[in-house]
């Protein structure tokens, strides 16, 4: 699959600086360890309902996060923990929302799929497949209306890319030249249905072509490739030329949600991806090649473990929301 994508141009030196690689590594590892912990807490019954893990797709949010500027808005589906951590939301606040506690971002009233941060310009966390695409187009409309220079990053899966409102949104964004970066996270399976069985379009990066929206297919397992593509796409959006579409070819290691028996794919497919394409291991190998000392990885591993452990402890001990929370936040001003 790598052959179909635009490889980052490493001819003129590395795509990412040392600092960028270190930040990307740290963020990807944080997402990975956070999600592993979330899976464990789910297994222990501390997290309920639906819980969709991001494991395997870390390079997408980390690469895009590197290219984002302060004030940029982002929005995604229910597989949202990675986006939130990279947006700068705290591991404690996100984990405590997963456990439904008062210390969570929504005071326990949203859960895994519905979390927001006004402060970090993160607009959810949406449980309805494809809804975030129209909403995210609206975030870009606000930017255009207020001329605030921000762009909006709209993540959705290849499953959502079959929803009608996605194309209504493409049309609106192109008509009004909205500063909107659409990111398809093509992890190959919409719940249990493979892309081949769900989409007649064989190249999702071309799905916005009829509206004149430029696009690229990107190796979503390579954080440098993601960063480079995102940077160029964001420049396009920011310069007033309208929306851009990036298709990230990525892969989720875990099931669709925690209760997915994953009978629709071979175990060997997952194992092969993990062993040969893992975004964290690949970046680590590249960093070692560039002479980054082993001690860096040790320190980051240690730090990330501590952050996640602290988040889990907080999420387990933060009290459940008070019964009075039932009635608050239904309407503004009441």
């Amino acid at each position: 699959m790598g052959s179909m994508t635009d490889a980052p141009n490493r001819q003129n030196g590395p795509v990412l600086s040392k600092e960028e690689m270190e930040r990307a590594y740290r963020e990807m590892l944080l997402v990975r360890r956070f999600e592993e912990k979330a899976g464990q807490l789910y297994g222990m019954g501390l997290i309920g309902g639906f819980c969709h893990l991001y494991i395997g797709q870390e390079a997408v949010v980390a690469g895009i996060g590197l290219a984002m500027k302060k004030g940029d808005r982002s929005i995604t589906s229910y597989r949202d923990h990675g986006q939130m951590l990279v947006a700068g939301m705290t591991a404690r606040g996100v984990m405590a929302e997963l456990t439904g506690r008062s210390g969570g971002y929504s005071h326990g009233k949203g859960g895994s799929m519905h979390m927001f941060s006004k402060e970090q310009e993160f607009y959810g966390g949406h449980g309805i497949v494809g809804a975030q695409v129209a909403l995210g187009t609206g975030l870009a409309l606000t930017s255009a209306y207020k001329k605030d220079g921000a762009i909006s990053i709209v993540y959705f899966g290849e499953g959502a890319s079959n929803q009608g409102q996605v194309y209504e949104s493409f049309n609106l964004a192109a008509l009004h030249k909205l500063p909107c970066l659409y990111v398809i996270e093509n992890n190959r399976y919409g719940m249990g249905t493979s892309i081949e069985r769900a989409s007649a379009s064989k190249d999702l990066s071309k799905n916005a072509t009829p509206w004149g929206i430029p696009s690229r297919k990107v190796d979503g397992m390579d954080v440098a490739a993601v960063y480079q593509a995102a940077k160029e796409a964001m420049e396009h959006c920011r310069s007033g030329k309208g929306p851009f579409l990036l298709e990230m070819e990525t892969y989720r290691y875990r099931g669709h949600s925690m209760s997915d028996p994953a009978k629709y794919r071979q175990r060997s497919e997952v194992d092969e991806m993990r062993q040969t394409r893992d975004p964290i291991e690949s970046l680590k190998a590249e960093m070692i090649k560039q002479g980054i000392d082993e001690s860096f990885f040790k320190t980051v591993d240690h730090d990330v473990k501590a952050v996640v452990k602290d988040a889990a402890e907080f999420a387990e001990t933060s009290p459940e929301p008070d019964a009075s929370e039932l009635w608050t936040d239904v309407l503004v001003g009441e």
Binding site: Y42, G43, G45, K109
Partner: protein, 458 residues
């Protein structure tokens, strides 16, 4: 350090399962993410992955064991190089964290459902004397309301199909493009789902859109964004997000446009916590309520009526004129029966009151103006005076606004009622096209008169 591996919960409802198979055996090295066992839940057989790297030190639950409770230690994971005896010190009974106790609901428990905060009295919402009025159409009133609020607040803008160049499919937005320009009066392609979602996203991020639906029937295309995105986000975000948006358009039957274009959405939208819903009748209602809706920091649905667009009513000329959302208006006072109506049915109820007056029966007519919140206080006060109530609506009877009105009367004024509350509704059928059939299907003053006379024992 040795640590126990616990029986995992693998679905939102799983409490126990069968340990179907051990894929790894004692002494095997395991990597995080590797399958170590197969667990059978009530729904499926699932693979259980190791959460950490290590060595499977000891298996505590044999394969084939049924009814293994979630969180039971099923094995011990050793760190690489650690001896199996490291597991000896583990207190496998207490080490496992218990599933948080979910309070079981016991039938006939003394505890009652949690009560909401006491409703604010609508008596505080006093409508001041607005003074001089001029006769204007409902159409003009709606346009004037939007223009006034757009002058007042730069963040307010209108979008919808044919709202700009065409001047509104029903000419409600006449003149707005000229005054405010394309940026603030935006024509939309015929894509309700997309543009409503876009407008909601814009509202969440700092502007105040007015979404015009050519008719509320088309809001069905966008109903997910109205309910799931606009109404629920404030709650789901723990109060971080707000969605100041107006969804407006003609609602209910027009004239012979058939079943798909003739439906009342009063009960649909009034059902949703997180929304406010208003339904103006007169020009003053239209202007005052729409201005209030645009200023409200919450999503508000404004149910207009096409037949009323061209009707003239006196409307205050005061530049500051606005009405409170949530306050009903007594359009006609009476002592014998309370008629409760909204939108076009207020006029029908007033006609019925005239007919009843000729028969010596004094009906009080309440114009609800707002369906959510509902001004229960005004309704109950009136019922306690008249001892009879008839609700009137154009929509269908099942789970309609009338069902709610009658329930409220029974719950809160049972001892004052001299007759069972009654509902007058549109017939429980898709609205027919044929002129005679359509006429037969919609409430008319005579139906109301009949319902009242029945309450009086005639």
């Amino acid at each position: 350090m040795a640590s126990p591996i616990l029986m995992p919960a693998l679905s939102p409802t799983m409490e126990e399962g069968t340990l179907a198979r051990w894929v790894k055996k004692e002494g095997d090295a395991v990597r995080s993410g590797e399958v170590i066992a197969e667990i059978e839940t009530d729904k499926a057989t699932m693979e259980m992955e190791a959460a950490e790297d290590g060595v499977l030190g000891r298996i505590l639950i044999d394969e084939g064991t049924e009814h293994v409770a979630v969180n039971t230690p099923i094995a011990v994971l050793l760190e690489e190089g650690e001896d199996a005896s490291a597991a000896d010190g583990l207190d496998l009974g207490s080490k496992a964290k218990p599933t948080p106790k979910v309070e079981k609901i016991v039938p006939n428990a003394a505890a009652s459902a949690p009560q909401g905060p006491a409703q604010r009295s609508t008596a505080e919402l006093v409508e001041p004397e607005w003074g001089e009025t001029a006769d204007i159409t409902v159409r003009e009133a709606l346009r004037d309301a939007m223009a006034a609020e757009m002058r007042r607040d730069e963040d307010v803008f209108l979008l919808g199909e044919e709202v700009a160049q065409y001047q509104g499919a029903y000419k409600v937005s006449q003149g707005l493009l000229d005054e405010f320009g394309e940026k603030r009066v935006m024509d939309m392609p015929i894509t309700e789902h997309g543009f409503t979602g876009m407008a909601v996203g814009a509202a969440l991020s700092g502007v105040k859109p007015i979404v015009e639906f050519m008719t509320m029937n088309f809001s069905l295309q966008a109903v997910d964004h109205i309910i799931n995105s606009a109404a629920k986000t404030r709650y789901m975000s723990g109060g971080q997000m707000s969605c100041p948006i107006v969804f407006r358009g003609p609602n209910g039957a027009a004239a012979r446009v058939g079943a798909q274009h003739s439906q009342c959405f009063g009960s649909w939208y009034a059902h949703i916590p997180g929304l406010k819903v208003v339904a103006p009748w007169s020009a003053a209602d239209a202007k005052g309520l729409l201005r209030a809706a645009i200023r409200d920091p919450n999503p508000v649905v404004v149910l207009e009526n096409e037949i009323l667009y061209g009707k003239k009513f006196p409307c205050p000329v005061d530049e500051d004129f606005v009405l409170p959302i949530g306050k009903a208006k007594i359009e006609r006072e009476g002592k014998d029966v309370t008629l409760v109506a909204f939108s076009i049915m207020v006029g029908v109820a007033l006609e019925a009151a005239e007919q009843l007056a000729a028969q010596g029966i004094e009906a009080e007519v309440i114009n609800l103006r707002s369906l959510r919140p509902l001004d229960t206080e005004t309704i109950i006060k009136s019922v306690k005076k008249t001892n009879r109530i008839v609700s009137v609506e154009e929509g269908w009877p099942v789970a309609g606004i009338g069902s709610e009105i009658c329930t409220i009367a029974v719950e809160q004024a049972f001892d004052w009622l001299d007759a069972p509350p009654a509902r007058v509704c549109g017939l429980d059928i898709p609205l027919p096209y044929a002129a005679n059939l359509e006429k037969l299907a919609l409430p008319k003053p005579e139906w109301i008169v009949e319902a009242v006379r029945k309450q009086l024992g005639d």
